[in-house]
């Protein structure tokens, strides 16, 4: 992964010292809350319902061992012993005290972590495929390009005060694990028939009040031209984005209003005006960055591990874990391990300090020192030897991290909701917990197969409900928590916004409704159809009938 140099470290130390001074001035009454609020937000510090919340950037979801251990230490020292991984692959602490913030930023800076650009109308933390560098599916390492964008976008003077926040995701596999089409810009690396690498550039995706799936603005952007082309998009957006109305200020609204052809024309015209030699990354610099992502020192191993096969045959729990959480690696004898932060009854995305330390230990011992955060609020150990899978499973199991439910019905995305968030209208976490408990039987969950449930506690859609196979949106209906269900959404390469099932349901009917929907699917499905495939074939009617039948 990228290593901070002396300049990076000096910058972070300066930034931390600056914020220490700003906090002192705020506490002394030398600046008002109105003056201080934008400063704390620029350092990731929000005020939520019960305390301050600190959002820490995890660039393209990549964490090393020292960072995991430091996050555990911060959780234990300054929070209530846990952190919450988000759909932007960041980590949030929910019980932070303002007086501790300067020390926390210093501690994070020791391991090259910070909270810059995790808030505000700027280019936010860039996300990438959590299997980068490990999957055989990719045509290049997306982290290289995510790092290029991170460096370009960090404190970019022209793009620090955009009309609204701006999110970029990079994938290099046909299978999209980044929800690229729900981002302001989604970049999908492709290799052309002539061997050249290029990006399919998708723009104007986004969720929230008005969900849009990103549209392709350019089929093949030569990789060397990435930064000037991003400059052109951002300039068109910066000039024409609706600063007058925050609800219409995201680039998705501009793209929808202009139409993708006109937007593309304006971007091309702007691109032609840019002096590419001053913006595009020189080959030497790209090579320098690529040097941080060289192939790790993999051992030469047989494709099959007798030890693992024997352990799997002897332990049905390990066998189930392997079926659902272990994926092929590009190197023989290795595997990619998904660690679910969705054990039954737990808060989706939460990890305790102890669990973070276990993950650090396992990453250090068995995964070449690396872990990744996924946008589905799980963790990946990207480089595990097949020979070590049983030991990794045992270590995870001891820390209650071995739930074998990746992509299954209980692998639910949920935002913090009204339990923590000042913007929320309804709770999301208890809904997720209830559904997970209903599908606690692992055999049944596997029988149901891939089913992505995503829950948001308000229309801002941090829980990605629009693109859930089943989406659940909490609303406040005359003072009670109600939930609107949508079906048929997808955040993957077949991205689609879900369709409304019908009137919102009271909180106590949501769990049963999910069970009813699953029963309809099991009744209607043909062959190996996923829930999503069956829904796309049958349409909403049989599902609607099952949920609302008794209400009529």
């Amino acid at each position: 992964m990228y290593q901070y140099d002396a300049l990076d470290k000096e910058f972070l130390a300066d930034r931390s010292a600056e914020f220490r001074h700003q906090v002192a001035r705020r506490l002394a009454g030398e600046i008002t809350e109105d003056q201080f609020k934008p400063l704390r937000l620029m350092n990731g510090l929000y005020l939520q319902l019960h305390a301050y919340m600190l959002r820490i950037a995890i660039p393209y979801g990549t964490l090393n061992v020292a960072q995991l251990r430091k996050l555990a230490w911060v959780a234990r020292t300054y929070d209530k012993g846990y952190g919450h991984f988000t759909t932007r692959t960041n980590l949030q602490f929910h019980w932070i005290k303002l007086r501790d913030m300067p020390d926390i930023l210093d501690a994070l800076a020791e391991v090259d972590l910070h909270a810059i650009q995790t808030s505000g109308n700027c280019i936010r933390n860039v996300t990438a495929d959590p299997r980068a560098g490990a999957t055989a599916e990719e045509v290049d390492d997306p982290r290289v390009w995510a790092e290029v964008i991170r460096q370009w976008s960090t404190l970019h003077p022209e793009f620090t005060y955009l009309p609204r926040k701006f999110k970029i995701a990079v994938t290099a596999s046909a299978k999209d694990r980044t929800a690229a089409k729900t981002h302001d810009i989604g970049l999908s690396l492709r290799r052309e028939r002539d061997g050249t690498l290029g990006f399919e550039v998708m723009v104007g995706g986004g969720l929230g009040r008005t969900p849009y799936i990103g549209k392709t603005v350019r089929e093949h952007l030569p990789v060397a031209r990435l930064l000037s082309y991003l400059d052109a998009i951002l300039r068109v957006y910066n000039r024409h984005g609706r600063r007058d109305n925050p609800a219409k200020a995201r680039i998705k609204i501009l793209v929808a209003q202009l139409g993708i052809e006109e937007f593309a024309r304006q971007v091309e015209a702007e691109w032609a005006l840019i002096d590419a030699s001053k913006v595009d990354l020189p080959d030497t610099e790209l090579a320098r960055i690529r040097g941080f992502f060289t192939r790790p020192d993999f051992a030469t191993l047989p494709r099959v591990s007798d030890a693992f096969d024997a352990a799997r045959a002897a332990d049905p729990g390990l066998a189930r874990f392997a079926r659902n959480n272990v994926h092929p690696h590009k190197v023989a004898g290795y595997a990619i391990v998904d660690v679910s932060l969705k054990s039954i009854g737990a808060t989706p995305g939460d990890a305790s300090a102890e669990q973070l330390e276990v993950l650090a230990d396992l990453a250090e011992r068995y995964s070449l020192g690396e872990a990744r955060v996924t946008h589905e609020q799980n963790i990946v150990l990207p480089h595990v030897k097949l020979d070590d899978l049983a030991a990794v499973y045992a270590g995870l199991k001891a820390a209650e991290l071995a739930s074998p439910n990746i992509n299954l019905v209980s692998d639910i995305i949920a935002c913090p909701g009204l339990d923590y968030c000042a913007l929320a209208n309804a709770r999301a976490i208890p809904v997720a917990q209830d559904i997970a408990r209903r599908f606690e039987n692992a055999d049944r969950a596997e029988l149901v197969g891939e089913l992505k449930i995503k829950i948001s506690g308000c229309i801002n859609a941090c829980g990605h409900h629009h693109v859930g196979h089943i989406g659940i949106l909490g609303v406040d209906k005359k003072g009670e928590e109600f939930y609107q269900l949508t079906l048929g959404g997808s955040g993957a390469e077949d991205a689609e916004v879900g369709k409304s099932l019908g009137p919102a349901l009271p909180a106590n009917r949501v769990g049963q409704a999910i069970e009813d929907l699953v029963e309809v699917y099991l009744r209607e499905r043909k062959g190996d159809e996923r829930f999503l495939d069956t829904f796309r074939r049958t349409g909403v009617e049989p599902f609607k009938e099952a949920v609302y039948a008794e209400a009529h």
Partner: protein, 119 residues
């Protein structure tokens, strides 16, 4: 009835006004039956800019056994998150916590008065 609440600047803790000082328990909050003293307290609180952030009045109703905020959101602020009963004020237990935990109904935003700023 009304109560006055805010988050404390230095640590973000939810606090309630009680006769000129800030307390952490809703059960110790001053309850206003008249508008004038409530508005006066809010005015004083707003001047305490190095102590609290964004003080505001909330609606409170008498329920079985005692007073509780009408708004569900405000009850959550007075208790803590429902997914971790060991965190927040609810962990302290006591009669006032029990009363709030058993109250029901109420709008998320309905409990906050003067949400629309008058010019």
């Amino acid at each position: 009835m009304k109560a006055l609440t805010a988050n404390r600047l230095i640590d973000g803790e939810v606090v309630f006004w009680s006769s000129g000082r800030w307390v952490e328990r809703f059960g110790e909050a001053e309850l206003f039956t008249d508008d004038v003293p409530a508005d006066d307290a809010e005015g004083r609180a707003k001047s305490e800019v190095t102590v609290v952030i964004d003080p505001y009045l909330i609606e409170v109703a008498e329920t079985d056994g005692g007073a509780a905020p009408i708004s569900y959101r405000e009850r959550l602020r007075a208790l803590g998150p429902t997914n971790t009963p060991e965190h927040g004020k609810q962990a302290l237990g006591g009669h006032d916590i029990e009363v709030i935990a058993h109250a029901s109904g109420g709008a998320r935003s309905g409990g906050r008065l003067n949400l629309i700023k008058r010019k």
